[in-house]
Symmetry: C2
Subunit: 144 residues, 2 copies
């Protein structure tokens, strides 16, 4: 039998989930405007300007074949958003890192994604504070 608290959790999650679903088109447009696919975006978020990552590690991260990771990195590199560097310790390994331009674009997109939609922006300070307070307690984000 379902507790009152579980029922509240369901309601809260549904409200959040449906709001995110409803605002998803604006995020798709944000990427499309820059000629980026959702996959490109995910790739940008796996990279770093300071520290390169091997292709194989990226492939595992993206749940795809290394040959496909090669293809994805090729595209980013052609777009000037990422670059390959030979690894010093093992010359088979190619380290992929974000270019300054890649970092700039990613930051731009990140800012747009985190821009609150009208539904949130229109709430009053009391409700917003209640949201921030409650959600701040909602443990660190983790996979699952």
């Amino acid at each position: 039998m379902e507790t009152e608290r579980t029922e509240l959790a369901r309601k809260a999650w549904r409200l959040m989930f449906d709001l995110l679903t409803a605002t998803s088109p604006s995020r798709s447009e944000s990427l499309a405007r820059r000629g980026l696919s959702p996959n490109d975006a995910r790739a940008l978020w796996s990279l770093d300007p300071a520290q390169g990552r091997p292709i194989g590690e990226l492939a595992r991260d993206w749940g795809c074949d290394p040959s496909n990771a090669t293809f994805i990195v090729d595209r980013l590199e052609r777009a000037g958003l990422a670059e390959r560097q030979a690894a010093a310790h093992d010359r088979r390994v190619k380290l992929v890192l974000l270019t300054p331009e890649g970092a700039r674009i990613r930051a731009e997109i990140d800012a747009e994604f985190h821009e609150p939609p009208p539904q949130i922006l229109d709430l009053d300070a009391k409700d917003l504070r209640a949201l921030v307070d409650a959600l701040s307690k909602a443990g660190p984000v983790s996979r699952g």
Copy 2:
């Protein structure tokens, strides 16, 4: 200059957005487990068991070419999730509707997507009620 309230809205949205992002892999798995692509899911959500929709209307909805909509509906039909019916008033038109099996699968997925993650499930009743209260005021969802 940014108001205090806007700043709270940003914080609240960031917490929600990052939580949804972090839980996204479990939703991908929910689809993959059933051999469905994200595109298939979107297609299922555009259909209804009771009322068919013309291919052209679906294509507009999905932002793709009608030929691609034909392809997508073919796949769903082969999977037994959707079916075509000739329209009575205009025999050029094919109405696409959800099969009972398609409706069942969609309901299953919908239930899984709306299952709250641990981060929410672990909050106490007071915080959950605060979330529900605040989010219930966050206007009807609309595109944008």
